[in-house]
Symmetry: C2
Subunit: 254 residues, 2 copies
DNA sequence: ACTCCCTATTACTCCGACATATTATCCGCC
DNA sequence: GGCGGATAATATGTCGGAGTAATAGGGAGT
């Protein structure tokens, strides 16, 4: 078998194993990173564990060392692992993980999400989003309000059972954060949005939508449109509380 | 010149250019990532710009394509760039950047930091840290209090002019976030800690320490130790406000 | 028991070739 | 003349192997 024939035959091995390993537009090293990332997040590799050497592991995965190394660089950039010559590649302690990275968050939710971690995320939402709504009420302009209104309309049209509906939900929250004129808050939107998306899917999985989420969102919108900072914060606080309640009950029932 | 002789001669080219490009423990691809990362954060490459091709750019930097590619994977993992076959590697829009990543934060502050962005970060601190202090006051145990006390003592000993002192400052804030028993908040500690560190250095650079930060910190500690949630939040709020004031004035004077 | 050095192991870097995906072009067709 | 699908060009993606540098961990020496 010549080199040319050997090339890329191995991609099949990765492509067919598991859920979303490899598709068009998804690179091989990305698939490896996904595979290892979920393995680490799920606890298959515990902190301080040492991964097998490059050559051995790459061979086991049936990919070249380049692809494997690039995947490790990705994990390293997200704080999941660190590698040094002679010492090997070891999984870092959990507090070094960049859990707010959208991709890492996705890996965390691709298995059975830790219920304690979900609680943490909602607690963070309960801190950040009401404050963001307060700022948004003070700083929003017409374009911001239009974006929120459009997102609300789309939510009504599609419901949270569809991907389009969940996307509209994210857009609504993102529009609020955008109205705060705060880059740091906006970045959290990507993370929180991803988390909301995962937990929303969880709610749907467990049982039919138990409660219409539209009124909560409308209350927030109205307060922001009216420029009432205190009411906006209060309304958003309620929204997050209700969402947490729904998620908690659906996870416990399961 | 044989292959062996050619290898690694090129590292000198990177090693000697600039401040913290390459040292022991710092890998080549890390240096490249640092270089490109700061270039992007400083605006040298604007969003939607397309970087020169791998071969050309790698040659320009005098590194191999592998090292360059691994650097790009890092940047890609942090949401700064994305590359597709034939289309090239392009800088992503700013709202895709993972600005809360500690490394990205460092790149943002390695040049002239955008004053608007600094304001955003302090606004985020003003939202998160008082809430964290409130939770910490409710959930802290003896070990948490000891960690805070030790950090305070170290701050007193070294002052913020030294790296040891700034490290103690970070430890203090980290201990508070740790006491919240919230993983998501804890992750922010790395980001916020980095931000605090950079801005503190800025304050020092501009002029001698204008104000003794210890009393502010002690107030926070006392409230947390007493389990007084409201007072803890209030004290932390004040601390962040004062820090912002110091930073703002020192940046404007400069 | 402690420090220093030395060696073996491991990641790091380089190289050159080939595969693949996407874009741009061009041609034929309507 | 405009439009759609084959086609070619090009940059990224993947591969395998060879050589280099850094460091952990043990061994020699004090």
């Amino acid at each position: 078998m010549t080199v040319s024939e050997a090339n890329y035959n191995n991609t099949d091995a990765i492509a067919r194993q598991g859920d979303e390993a490899r598709g068009p537009g998804r690179r091989l090293h990305g698939a490896i990173a996904h595979k290892l990332g979920t393995a680490i997040l799920s606890g298959k590799y515990a902190p301080d564990d040492i991964l097998s050497g490059e050559v051995a592991f790459a061979e086991e995965l049936q990919v070249s060392r380049s692809a494997y190394r690039e995947a490790i660089q990705v994990l390293s950039a997200k704080g999941l692992v660190a590698s040094r010559p002679k010492a090997g590649t070891r999984v870092l302690p959990r507090d070094r993980w960049n859990l707010l990275d959208p991709e890492v968050l996705g890996w965390a939710f691709s298995g059975e999400p830790n219920i304690e971690f979900v609680r943490s995320l909602f607690e963070l939402r309960a801190i950040v989003e009401p404050a963001a709504a307060r700022l948004a009420a003070q700083r929003r302009d017409k374009a911001d309000l239009k974006a929120m209104k459009d997102a609300l309309a789309a939510m009504r049209r599609h419901t949270l059972a569809t991907e389009a509906g969940r996307s509209a939900d994210r857009d609504f929250h993102k529009a609020i954060l955008q109205a705060t004129r705060n880059d740091a808050l906006l970045v959290l939107s990507a993370s929180i949005g991803a988390a909301v998306n995962w937990t929303t899917q969880f709610k749907q999985r467990a049982r039919a939508l138990p409660r219409n989420p539209i009124p909560d969102h409308v209350r927030v919108y109205d307060a922001i449109a009216a420029g009432d900072a205190a009411a906006a914060a209060e309304a958003m606080n309620l929204l997050v509380d209700l969402a947490l309640e729904d998620t908690r009950s659906s996870m416990e029932e399961k």
